[in-house]
């Protein structure tokens, strides 16, 4: 009799969190069944605080009772643990380093600055918008090197960690445009980034996990209002 290895996977998250979305996409792509535990981030559960005492944040992946925190750490853990599904990282060490580099770039340079745009207004916002455009330009140029003449192929079913992180940021670009009044994913300014983001939003796992447009708009508006009120206080 073949003993099935116990494989209990829970994901503590929040439906609107892009960080959580990354992990959900990865789990779906790998075909890993999991239980989603919705956290109220205003009223964090004892369990969450126990699993992530350092950052007290979602996502937290619980695999057979053991917690893993930080979305990018979780993605690499998923890739190393479930080797049967499509790989989330290339095999070659140099290609892996490049993917990690650009993932870190999107995470630190684009994500952070886009958040700033959402949370500010007037001159501060204009400054942040300018920075996002600069970073997008760097990414656009970086993609030429990253893809290096190889046509970047997204087959509709699989994604790597860089695809996942970029999608978690700009997958909701239409909602971002509506709320912030700025078009970041501009096919004229950033043709490579734009075509890449568009292709990513068509991937099955992404489509299945994307919340409705109105909900995304509402969440972004809420975040913005709360931040503006806090800074005005």
């Amino acid at each position: 009799m073949k003993m099935a290895k116990e494989n209990n996977v829970k994901l503590h998250g929040m439906w609107a969190s892009p960080y959580v979305k990354r992990v959900e996409i990865a789990l779906k792509i790998k075909g890993i069944p999991y239980e989603f535990v919705e956290e109220d981030l205003v009223n964090k559960s004892q369990l969450l605080l126990q699993y992530n005492p350092v950052h007290k944040k979602v996502p937290v992946l619980i695999h057979n009772g053991k917690p893993i925190c930080e979305s990018l750490v979780i993605l690499e853990y998923i890739d190393e643990t479930w080797k049967n599904g499509p790989p989330l990282l290339p095999q070659d060490p140099y290609k892996r380093a490049k993917v990690r580099f650009w993932t870190s770039f999107v995470e630190k340079e684009l994500f952070e600055n886009l958040l700033l745009v959402a949370r500010s207004e007037g001159e501060a916002q204009e400054k942040a918008i300018k920075v996002v455009f600069e970073k997008l330009q760097l990414l656009e140029e970086g993609l030429k090197d990253l893809f290096q003449g190889e046509t970047y192929h997204i087959d509709g079913e699989t994604m790597g960690i860089l695809d996942i992180v970029l999608c978690s940021l700009f997958g909701a670009h239409e909602a971002q445009e509506e709320v912030l009044g700025v078009k970041f994913i501009d096919p004229e300014k950033f043709p490579l980034v734009c075509s890449w983001v568009t292709a990513l939003t068509e991937v099955t796992a992404v489509k299945e996990l994307r919340p409705p447009h109105e909900k995304l708009v509402a969440v972004l508006q809420f975040i913005r209002q709360r931040a503006l009120q806090a800074s005005a206080a």
Binding site: E70, P93, R96, A97, L138
Partner: protein, 221 residues
Amino acid sequence: MAQEVKLFGMWASLYSRRIEIALKMKGVQFEFIEEDLQNKSPLLLKHNSIHKKVPVLLHNGMPIAESLIILEYIDETWLDNPILPRDPYDRAMARFWARFIDEKLIWISWDAFSSKEEDQGKAIEEACKQLKALENELKEKEFFGGDTLGYLDIAAIMVASWFGVMQEVMKVELLTEENFPILCQWVGKFVDCPIVKECLPRKEKMVEFTRVLLKDFLASK
């Protein structure tokens, strides 16, 4: 094909030291290229055009930037003496704590070192909480990596060196033996490792360098 390994770094940069330690642990021959960070070389700017920072590893002409990413590259390319643990869960923990050091601990500690007097008490309390979390990760082990140095020990060079230097420059006590006996014991063992001794600059040199770097800030205090 002959391996050509170059490391662009700066003597006082602890991030550069991370890479040196890893390469030496793996027995990889490399050329160290000292950068003047006030006058960065065209080669550095070419190989790290995005961030324009050290360290950059150049392996057979291919550049890799960002110290933690370089460490993973080194571990995946030269397979002797693994730096990261084998088990995926242990690897996740090592990566988690390394990111914690770079993205949270250093900044919170900088706040504690640089705060105005009225805010300092709270900032120090917060930094100590974070240091305690890291100390707890050591548990009963010699090093974060177990019996020998590993990826997290290398990442934690910041704790082993930067804290001591900053405490002397800013005259603020944070990582004390009284409050962090286990972590301080680790620091002692870490700096005593032959490879680390070869790579780490003398504390006095680092203190002098940091004093100059922060002279405007110190003058305003």
